[in-house]
Symmetry: none
Subunit: 217 residues, 4 copies
DNA sequence: TATGAATGAGCATTCATTCAT
DNA sequence: AATGAATGAATGCTCATTCAT
């Protein structure tokens, strides 16, 4: 019952920024490969339809070997989910931090773009998270509720600040608005192939324009 | 190979509204119960995570009995998916047919409302469809692509007419707009419990307002 | 536990000769249809691979209806087996009874012919019996051992008489000979389509010639 | 779809004689155990009446483990069938190759003996093949038709050579003769327990004598 | 006289998981 | 650091059987 867990770099708080090539051991690489394969397959097929054998095949290891790195399929999901949300969240925060002194509308525009980038990026972590979270059993959702709520609150603040600054009409209720905006963004995963250069940026600008200005003449 | 499939109600065009108690045979009731249970579970957990035993339990029959009515789990999904899309589609078309001579914006507002109603209705067929379709393997998606495309084109026409009538800015590209709007609507399934009276109508109005007028002051 | 068994004409001792058209009720016809369908399918696919649904389909009734006529699948087999052996046995006995005063070799020749006729006849009862008996579980074989042994003993007498009359070499052991002869005959089911006119007669004559005269120059 | 099937011994041409204990890995042993158990049960009960659980029990492994070695029940059958026919075929060919310069009748006598040996040997592969092949559905028979035909042609040549050398009467048709002979041999499986020493040889000699010299005085 | 509806035990198969090496 | 071999619980599905009508 006391399970292994040797090759972790510290649970879920691994500084994944340094994973690229530096000292990433072979072991580290296998771990990453498993996670990336899992994310890709979860995204495409959902959690339950994805087998460990598929993940192993894609990661080019043996199914049994997965258990050297992870305690269970659930544990892989956990990390994929976590990574996925952290990527959008960090992406959005970073973008806004880098921006100088800009209007609230411009801030929201940047957040939209960063959210879309995370979603349509090469990696599948964020899109996997967005796509499968809703259908997961309570047991698997539970641990991630906190971060998700934090992200939602982050957007709420973004919108609230804009409203206080009179850049959003005062009769707009913010929570439904946030759901509306994030829904529209998230759903693009189901339709769009935004791998082409600048496609994400273009979509982001269009979305921002509709949300602020509306579509009417 | 050529057995079973006796108890069908005659294709997919059954008026399922009158199923309650009227003259629906006992057989028909079981069939409906299976479909409704399946829809509910598919919606909640996805297709692959839902077992026939769960469906049977919810329908209060024995797992083996399902095969008296359906050839396979896939066949159940097929019918749930079909029913689900037909319900939104019919709902939207009916709403617009009933409306008299109204503006394009009003038409779109009605379509939004009807779409949301189908999604948050008592029945889970539409929401199941919307939620799980994207993760299904090709084999299961295939047969439904046509109807889905037809529905998309229906919205495109709605928007196109509005644009021609100068009720939508001419610089707006319509296909991204349609994806944007339907995405925002579909995503509400993930967040909202709109079972409260008028909640759907209120959300519909809010959504329409944002889309047309935008959120800015 | 006290099972039905209404439409039997007296267990296994039914005078099946009068079944043709005379007073055979509709019920009787269904019974026969079930048995004939079962015999055909058992012969082709074996007992265990044949489903009641297949039998019902071929007999053009509903699967459930079989239980109006028979207590179980086993009971059908029982009757098919019985009928099958009785048909060869009666066929051979009848042929020999009709024959006048002939040599032992001629008698055996007639027995060979009658055995082959029963085997390749329109009806599948005998061939089903021959083909599937060996693979049946003890429980199903048991009740038929007696008749089978009786038939074997009948042939043994036939051969023994011939040997006593010096028409078979005295150094030939009769039981292996019987097995050899019946084996050769029975195996034809696996290879030959003897539905063509006179094919059976021709094969019978050839077989008799080999057995008595041998193949050598 | 493209997983498993690792532990093969390299196609079907493995010299299975050396499997006993020599260097056969543990894995190899399990594979053999499955095949041998399957052959024994198929022979006794037929294909469809044999369950994987029975095979697993006899092989002293868990039912699920079978799938580590075989893709399906059908795949096991395939290999059993193949092995079974190869054993007789090789047995007969080997016997004849070892024989020096002998008469055609003596050659046929040896072939009869080798065929009977394969059939009544410790292993059940050949007898399983002979017994169940006829009742198999097309799908399972198909792949083995070629080898079976090759074996039949081999016998045809044996007989044809004998006839050309005037050791078989010229009025004998060879194909029916082959069927007759092989039928007589094959059928012994249904009756005889030839495990006793020399029983097979004795039967072989008797059979050859009847076929060539006939039974008449 | 028959059947439509339903059952439940059992089947082949899958898959997350284990563990000796 | 990783795997080959094996497990066993659970899955979708089949089928002989039941029984009210």
């Amino acid at each position: 019952m006391t399970r292994r867990r040797r090759p972790t770099t510290g649970g879920n708080t691994v500084p994944r920024e340094m994973t690229d090539a530096t000292n990433a051991s072979k072991s580290q690489k296998s771990r990453e490969a498993i996670l990336e394969s899992a994310a890709k397959l979860f995204r495409r097929q959902g959690y339950s339809a994805t087998t460990l054998r598929q993940i192993a095949d894609l990661a080019e290891i043996q199914a049994g070997s997965i258990y050297y790195y992870f305690d269970s399929k659930d544990a892989i999901l956990d990390e994929v989910l976590d990574e996925g949300l952290r990527r959008v969240f960090n992406g959005v925060k970073l973008k806004l931090k880098q921006a100088g002194d800009i209007s609230h509308r411009q801030k929201i525009a940047l957040a939209i773009e960063a959210h879309l980038v995370a979603l349509h990026d090469a990696s599948d972590f964020t899109s996997a998270n967005i796509r499968i979270y809703g259908q997961l059993p309570e047991r698997l959702k539970g641990p991630h509720r906190a971060i998700r709520r934090a992200y939602a609150r982050y957007w709420d603040r973004l919108l609230s600040n804009a409203q206080k600054a009179d850049e959003i009409r005062s009769d707009i209720e913010l929570i439904p608005l946030r759901i509306f905006v994030l829904g529209a963004l998230n759903w693009t995963v189901e339709w769009f192939d935004l791998s082409k250069k600048d496609a994400v940026q273009k979509l982001a600008r269009r979305t921002e324009s509709i949300i602020f200005d509306g579509v009417k003449r």
